[in-house]
């Protein structure tokens, strides 16, 4: 793959710290788009605010860098107004599930054909390491000086319960798996969610003594296992990776609305 074909070189160097996992996500994502052979003019990337959200500026698609937490709402407007476009929405864990939590569950419920990527570094990277709804109890952050008592969401469970029709999880260590899952998520017709554990060595890593980026990547390898694998059965404490939901029984929103348009037009014709 020629990465250059998909990036805006003018906008480089990127703003991420050395070792940040968000660059790995960008790499895998571009591979997925390349392998799917998507037309760049057909792809719209919508993001909110955060280190993760900056990803939209670097890609040579139509890109919409919006406000914190609202990317999915903007994306709904783009998609619903022009359903032939492919919508990819990368978000940080805070962006997606704290300030954007309401939009996240409603996007899942509505089932518009949008791919949501939760780049989960378990912290607010951009603002300097405050806890997020995915940080986890007892972790250290800059707003939990006496340890964190805030319970976490499980992104996969939340997305599933809210009605997302494709739900998957992987990590920045598992780059080939990431590309394969991203391809599936993008191809899926309906609202797809893919959670990607991504390292933030600068904030989360440093505050929780997880070492540098390679050490954190190693940790992703150790703390996760494929769903339904022998390893996870033996170690239920591990985080499972893979596809958790992949259903096609729920109609896609824009397609349903086309039927509404037909009904509405039939009703006026009937009156005339």
């Amino acid at each position: 793959m020629q990465a250059k074909q998909y990036i805006r070189e003018r906008f480089f160097p990127h703003m991420w710290c050395a070792g940040c996992g968000h660059g790995i996500v960008l790499n895998s994502l571009l591979r997925a788009v390349d392998q799917l052979g998507l037309d760049k003019n057909n792809v719209v990337m919508v993001s909110g605010i955060g280190c993760s959200a900056r990803i939209s500026g670097y890609v040579d698609f139509h890109s919409l860098h919006t406000i914190h937490g609202r990317a999915l709402a903007f994306a709904a407007g783009v998609k619903f107004s022009k359903p032939e476009l492919k919508l990819i929405v990368p978000m940080g864990d805070g962006d997606a599930l704290a300030i954007g939590g309401n939009h996240f569950i409603h996007a899942a419920r509505r089932n518009m054909d949008i791919t949501a990527i939760v780049m989960n570094n378990r912290i607010y990277g951009m603002t300097g390491g405050q806890f997020s709804p995915l940080t986890g109890v007892d972790k250290n952050t800059s707003t939990t000086p006496f340890s964190n008592i805030d319970n976490s969401f499980d992104t996969v469970e939340l997305a599933t319960a809210a009605g997302a029709t494709f739900v998957a999880r992987t990590t920045t260590y598992h780059v080939l798996e990431m590309t394969a899952l991203l391809k599936k998520a993008i191809e899926h017709k309906g609202f797809s969610v893919i959670e990607i554990l991504s390292q933030c060595p600068t904030q989360y890593g440093r505050k929780n003594k997880e070492g540098d980026a390679p050490a954190m990547l190693d940790h992703f390898r150790e703390m996760t296992a494929k769903a339904d694998s022998e390893k996870i059965k033996k170690n239920p404490g591990l985080i499972s990776r893979g596809i958790f939901v992949d259903r096609s029984d729920k109609p896609e929103y824009c397609e349903q609305y086309e039927k509404i348009i037909q009904k509405a037009q039939k009703a006026i014709k009937g009156k005339q």
Partner: protein, 382 residues
């Protein structure tokens, strides 16, 4: 019977205006007293192949219309008080990213949940300064249904011309009252469509490089030109920048494109204004009261007239100063604690001759409310 004559609510006149202007996308969230606009459009839009969506809240609604505007659609959302507060961050985003859109606020009594089913005009300043930072905005209003219809069309036209959010500040009384509306034939009122770039595929398109006249041709998302849109200060490529020159240049552009065109944006009506010694300045439903008084006084040969404002922002300072130059006194009639009063005082030659007749209790301001103040001003006792 002429089928273009209707007997409708103000909110319905707004919907008719939006349809006439070519709306094809609406996102909203129900709130009194604006809800009828969403209800009517949920029926009207799919009938013409347009899109209506009820989002999870007002924030999502305004964000959705901004996304839809970028794909090349004419968009609107409608709300009231608390919902208008929720939309403020995204309104600033639309200012910064220069995304055309229309935001209707059918005003009710505030602050907070306030007086949901009663009239108010307390959001004038919020329409101007509700979102943070130095920015410009256009806000229009109307006092009767024909004008609601026309101002709604104007709102779309101005939004597309200046690439800006335009706020329609109606109020509960106008929104819910019923009266006659005549819908003009097609093409009777000019419709403005956005300027689109003529650049061909493969030629560098600078989404944020203004032409000499300050206008920026757009390119629809999904089209041949791929570019970045951001709420960060940005250069001509739409790429984030904090270069002081770029920052200053962009802020000037965003403000100048409106203020340099104030004479084109200003909308007002004169009622018995010629040779008036006493001038009532009003807008929205309170203007109806003012006009009623002026009509009666003129019948008694009293030189009293009404300057009805239809554009509130940018505030038409020059026009107001000019019209009031020879007045003995000016009385601002509004249903808040003096939001337009402050603007009038600031722009008029003799601010000590400007007075307020207001009502803030959720009831429409009546002729006797205004007359009792007039009596004092005119030196006819208390």
């Amino acid at each position: 019977m002429n089928k273009n004559i209707k007997f409708v609510q103000g909110n319905e006149a707004c919907v008719e205006g939006a349809i006439y202007a070519g709306i094809d996308f609406f996102a909203g969230y129900p709130i009194t007293p604006s809800t009828e606009i969403a209800e009517l459009l949920s029926r009207r839009l799919p009938q013409k192949g347009g899109k209506f969506v009820q989002m999870e809240d007002e924030i999502a609604s305004v964000c959705a219309i901004l996304g839809a505007s970028l794909t090349g659609h004419k968009v609107m959302t409608a709300t009231s008080g608390p919902g208008f507060s929720l939309k403020q961050e995204a309104i600033g985003y639309a200012c910064m990213a220069e995304i055309p859109c229309v935001i209707v606020n059918v005003q009710r009594g505030g602050p907070s949940t306030g007086n949901p089913t009663h009239v108010g005009q307390g959001d004038i300043n919020q329409a101007r300064w509700g979102t943070h930072g130095d920015h410009s905005i256009i806000a229009l209003t109307a006092s009767n249904h024909q004008d609601v219809f026309e101002m709604t069309i104007e709102a779309f036209n101005l939004a597309e011309t200046y690439r800006t959010p335009v706020i329609l500040l109606f109020d509960e009384a106008v929104g819910h009252m019923r009266e006659k509306l005549v819908i003009p034939e097609k093409n009777e009122i000019p419709i403005v469509n956005r300027l689109r770039t003529a650049l061909k595929k493969g030629v560098d398109y600078h989404p944020y490089l203004p032409r000499e006249d300050g206008r920026l041709p757009m390119s629809d998302f999904g089209g041949d030109h791929r570019y970045n849109v951001t709420g960060l200060l940005h250069d001509m490529w739409g790429f984030p920048s904090n270069d002081p020159k770029v920052v200053k240049g962009l802020l000037h552009h965003l403000n100048d494109k409106i203020s340099n065109n104030i004479h084109r944006i200003t909308r007002y009506k004169e009622h018995y204004l010629e040779d008036a010694e006493y001038i009532l300045i009003s807008y929205g439903s309170s203007a109806r009261t003012a006009i009623h008084i002026a009509k009666n006084r003129r019948a008694r040969n009293e030189k009293l007239g009404v300057l009805e404002l239809q554009s509130l922002w940018p505030f038409p300072k020059e026009m107001v100063r000019e019209k009031c130059r020879n007045a003995k006194a000016v009385l601002v009639v509004e249903m808040n604690m003096g939001q337009v009063l402050a603007q009038v005082k600031a722009c008029i030659d003799r601010p000590e001759t400007v007075f307020l007749a207001n009502r803030i209790d959720g009831e429409l301001i009546t002729p006797s409310d205004v007359k009792s103040i007039l009596r004092v001003i005119q030196g006819r006792g208390v």
